[in-house]
Symmetry: C2
Subunit: 135 residues, 2 copies
């Protein structure tokens, strides 16, 4: 009985984000971009074999797919950004907001300054949901 991975960990998410952004890439490339980001945040660099190991584990977990190209492997995210966001979001709603997505939304709107354009867009979405007749 294999254990199935429920949520991406922090290090995994970091790698996923890069692959979502740039598409298929080698370990070298991912590691480079990773350290580029870390550098700009004054964080410690991570070794190439560390990134390699992470990506190998994620491949085993079916979180990434890969194909061979000469001596290299080219990796891709095998889970979608949306599905992952959804998972993490639902988790946060359940663990920190007592299951109420509404509370989370209101906190999110209150916390970060949101542009007028964004507010209008959100309102439009709500209008559509109201019109569509919330099942």
């Amino acid at each position: 009985m294999k254990k199935i991975k429920e949520k991406p960990t922090d290090a995994e998410l970091e790698i996923l984000r890069i692959l979502w952004e740039v598409g298929p890439a080698t370990v070298q490339e991912v590691n480079g971009l990773l350290n580029q980001k870390r550098e700009s945040l004054a964080q410690k660099e991570v070794g190439l074999t560390t990134t390699l190991k992470m990506m190998q584990l994620m491949y085993q977990n079916r979180m990434l797919s890969r194909e061979s190209a000469g001596r290299k492997h080219i990796y891709q995210a095998a889970v979608s950004q949306e599905a992952t966001q959804k998972k993490l979001l639902n988790r946060l709603v359940d663990t920190a907001f007592g299951g109420s997505a509404t509370k989370l939304v209101m906190q999110a709107l209150g916390n970060k300054k949101t542009s007028k354009e964004d507010l209008a867009e959100i309102k439009k979405l709500i209008d559509e949901m109201e019109k569509g007749g919330q099942a």
Copy 2:
């Protein structure tokens, strides 16, 4: 140089949630409520000394405060629910939504079914923000 705790872990959050809900409480009480919740989710019970240890560590981290009452300690959350939610929310926005709270909000609204009343409430909040003149 002491290391400062940035985010509550899962186990810590579980305890905080109980203290936020019921107010000041002993280790016994917290452990009882904890296991009550776990039971209803078919999760394994946790031992009393485990909960005790967690709460002691959280007290050291200044996440809880406490006072003595006879031979017992009475613990309280020393961090507010709102501040903690905010921290976790901002973290999620940054790590999973590329810094866009708007994207998170729209996902949250789309995912979970939200009642008409809640939608109206959110819209009202947005109206107020628009009116108030987003600084």
